[in-house]
């Protein structure tokens, strides 16, 4: 059985950001990734964007306001990756 896109993203977040004491299954799909939730920072945002680009071939938006929305949670990220990969 294939891992869902959401689970793949959780694995990618933990792996690419070296969050070694976070288990991917502990990340809630709807929770905020940055500051309040998982406590990621702007450096993580750039690292994560790179990792997503390498794994899914999806690049971030030229509009950072939009990027903030896209990177809000695993759910929003998954929707973004789906929209790009389905369209492509």
């Amino acid at each position: 059985m294939h891992e869902s896109l959401e689970d793949q993203l959780k694995d990618l977040i933990v792996e690419s950001l070296a969050l070694e004491d976070v288990d991917p299954s502990e990340i809630n799909t709807d929770d905020a990734l940055f500051v309040d939730g998982l406590g990621l920072d702007s450096i993580d945002a750039l690292e994560l964007a790179l990792a997503i680009q390498e794994k899914f071939g999806v690049v971030t938006s030229p509009d950072d306001e939009r990027n903030r929305e896209l990177f809000y949670s695993v759910k929003t990220l998954a929707e973004f990756v789906r929209s790009k990969t389905d369209a492509g």
């Binding site: 950001l17 070296a18 450096i43 993580d44």
Partner: protein
């Protein structure tokens, strides 16, 4: 004692002029909510100035800007015009701003945030413009008063902040000197991808263009696509950025940053791999800047695809190495309250030509994503948590542009057995987030029974690293042997298997046995070399039941390649083993194993 730079009065005034090299219709700020000219800036600065309370002794306007660099420039000029110095908080965090707001020196907070505090500069400018406010414009050039014009607050990490007062000569003198060094003039169009509230951002993306006649982007793009779009749409020729962003930019298609002539990077070392991929992709070198809030700019170096070059001090900056190997700086940009020359905590090595190599820091300060973090402060904060008995924090080099990352080893109250560790890790991180920037929070927290300490209380770095399964180099501990191909021989009476195996120099089991004389302990030879070979040769056999005639007669040292041989005759469960290094026998013995393998 190196000479102190002396300028003639005329040169001095020219160096401290803001907007002295712009024509009235020159664009000063572009992008964002629209281009603005020097005239616009002088008008908006006048409007802000008029809205401010009068200056008093040592009064400051606190500047908190993370969105519109033009609004920040107008606030800066308006506050200076009104007679206030300006102050930069250590971060835009609400608690940091409110704490500084309570100080008697703070006359007003000028910001572009959603904080709901007076005065939102963007709202003020918009309202004035809609109402047709005809406040008389300020007159260019603006020459701030001599003496202190800015206070930069740095924190490391906890609420305790340090104030660094910058005089006109330090701050604007440095902007002017940077312009001279890098020939940033009226044609410069600077995209600032670092926040202007950081001294590096302020200097390179506001003060440099304001003193030299250039223009700056109003926005601060973060993601690579956003940076590329900002550069493309504005026709910018200069980018001011940081290592982590350069790494991300290096993934853009070639040509995405065409038009750029110079790229500045600061706040942390640029990894070789990032410098290489960026400069190859865009055929553009990166100019790295070394400096600090207290010393001002110290040196620069240009990074091409090759290895990092040495740092070349800026003109007028004198560097030397102390007998302890520390960097000593004397320059007109060193903070006025500090002794000159000023001894930093940076460790260097001088070259004969006056350039130097930077080797790291000698104190507990590291830079993470451009933010200075005091390891002792993080430790103290964790230690005061009720569930924490003891703690040690270390920094290791991190890949990408982060520079470093923190790791924490924690002894929980009551020992590690009595507490669900994940819960405590979550609690600690949550507590840390109340006080610290996310970058300052340890990325890994491990729980241990005891922190390894020397009699003087110091924590040996290599032993701390081992708690995280890391070698002294920061690389993961190597538990892997390099096995060759097994050779099996069988006849009616006996069956044997021989396997060559290389024991790597950094093999983890070498640690802890006879310091400076590493060798592979007998128990490790049994567990890691012999038993796996037995299992491979005779998978049908079960657990070891007894051992006899065991002898470790030769040393196995880092980098050795040995032959492990196991042999079984007709006696049930009986296996003879031998480890040899060329002709030298290192270990021999006999094992008796259960005849039935247990799954």
């Amino acid at each position: 004692m190196p000479p102190v730079i002396v300028r003639t009065p005329d040169q001095e005034d020219a160096a401290f002029e803001l907007l002295g090299k712009h024509r009235p219709d020159s664009i000063v700020a572009f992008g964002g909510a629209g281009d603005r000219t020097a005239t616009d800036l002088l008008i908006d600065a006048a409007r802000i100035s008029r809205a401010l309370p009068p200056a008093f002794e040592n009064s400051q306007a606190l500047l908190v800007f993370d969105q519109d660099r033009y609004a920040m420039a107008a606030a800066l000029l308006g506050a200076l015009e009104r007679g206030h110095a300006v102050a930069l908080p250590p971060s835009g965090r609400r608690d940091a701003v409110l704490a500084l707001n309570d100080r008697p020196e703070t006359a007003i907070v000028l910001h572009d945030t959603d904080a709901g505090l007076p005065i939102s500069v963007v709202d003020l400018i918009d309202r004035a413009s809609q109402e047709g406010d005809d406040t008389p414009s300020l007159t260019a050039p603006i020459v701030p008063r001599a003496g202190i014009i800015m206070t930069v607050f740095t924190s490391g990490t906890t609420g305790a902040t340090t104030a660094w007062h910058k005089t006109r000569a330090e701050l604007l003198g440095e902007a002017h000197a940077l312009g001279e060094t890098f020939q940033i003039d009226a044609g410069a169009k600077i995209v600032g991808a670092v926040a202007p509230g950081h001294i590096y951002g302020l200097l390179f993306t506001i003060l440099l263009p304001l003193t030299r006649g250039g223009a700056f982007s109003r926005d601060t793009p973060l993601h690579s696509e956003a940076v590329a779009q900002c550069v493309r749409e504005s026709g910018a020729n200069t980018l001011v950025t940081v290592p982590v962003q350069l790494r991300s930019l290096a993934s853009l298609p070639a040509g995405s940053l065409s038009g750029l002539e110079r790229v500045f990077s600061s706040t942390g070392p640029l990894p070789d791999a990032v410098a290489r991929s960026f400069s190859e992709r865009f055929e553009l070198p990166v100019t790295e800047i070394l400096g600090s809030t207290e010393t001002g700019g110290i040196a620069s170096r240009v990074r091409h695809a090759g290895e990092a070059q040495s740092w070349l001090p800026f003109a007028g900056v004198h560097v030397a190495m102390t007998s302890e190997g520390r960097l000593e700086v004397d320059s007109p940009f060193v903070h006025a309250d500090l002794p000159r020359p000023f001894e930093t905590a940076d460790l260097i090595e001088m070259n004969d030509d006056g350039s130097f190599r930077h080797l790291g820091r000698s104190d507990g300060i590291v830079k993470i994503g451009g933010r200075r973090v005091s390891i002792p402060e993080v430790e103290d904060y964790i230690r005061q948590e009720a569930d924490v008995e003891d703690v040690a924090v270390i920094a290791i080099a991190a890949e990408g542009g982060r520079g470093h990352q923190l790791l924490a080893a924690v002894v929980p109250v009551g020992g590690i057995e009595n507490r669900p560790q994940q819960d405590l890790a979550v609690l600690l991180k949550r507590a840390l987030r109340k006080k610290f920037e996310p970058t300052c929070i340890p990325r890994r927290i491990v729980f241990v029974e005891v922190i390894p300490r020397e009699p003087n209380g110091k924590t040996p770095r290599d032993r701390l690293l081992r708690l995280f399964d890391l070698q002294p180099s920061g690389k993961p501990v190597n538990w892997t042997l390099e096995w060759g191909k097994p050779k099996v021989e069988r006849d009616d009476e006996r069956e044997s298997l021989e396997n060559s195996v290389r024991v790597p120099e950094d093999y983890a089991w070498f640690d802890g046995h006879f310091e400076h004389f590493p060798l592979l302990a007998g128990a490790v030879q049994l567990k890691e070399l012999i038993l796996p070979t037995v299992a491979r040769a005779f998978p049908e056999l079960g657990f070891v039941q007894s051992m006899s005639r065991i002898k470790f007669s030769g040393r196995i040292v880092p980098g050795d390649t040995v032959i492990v041989r196991v042999e079984r005759n007709q006696k049930p469960g009986c296996v003879r083993f031998e480890i040899r290094k060329q002709s030298e026998i290192c270990a021999t013995g006999v094992l008796t194993l259960a005849e039935d393998s247990v799954e």
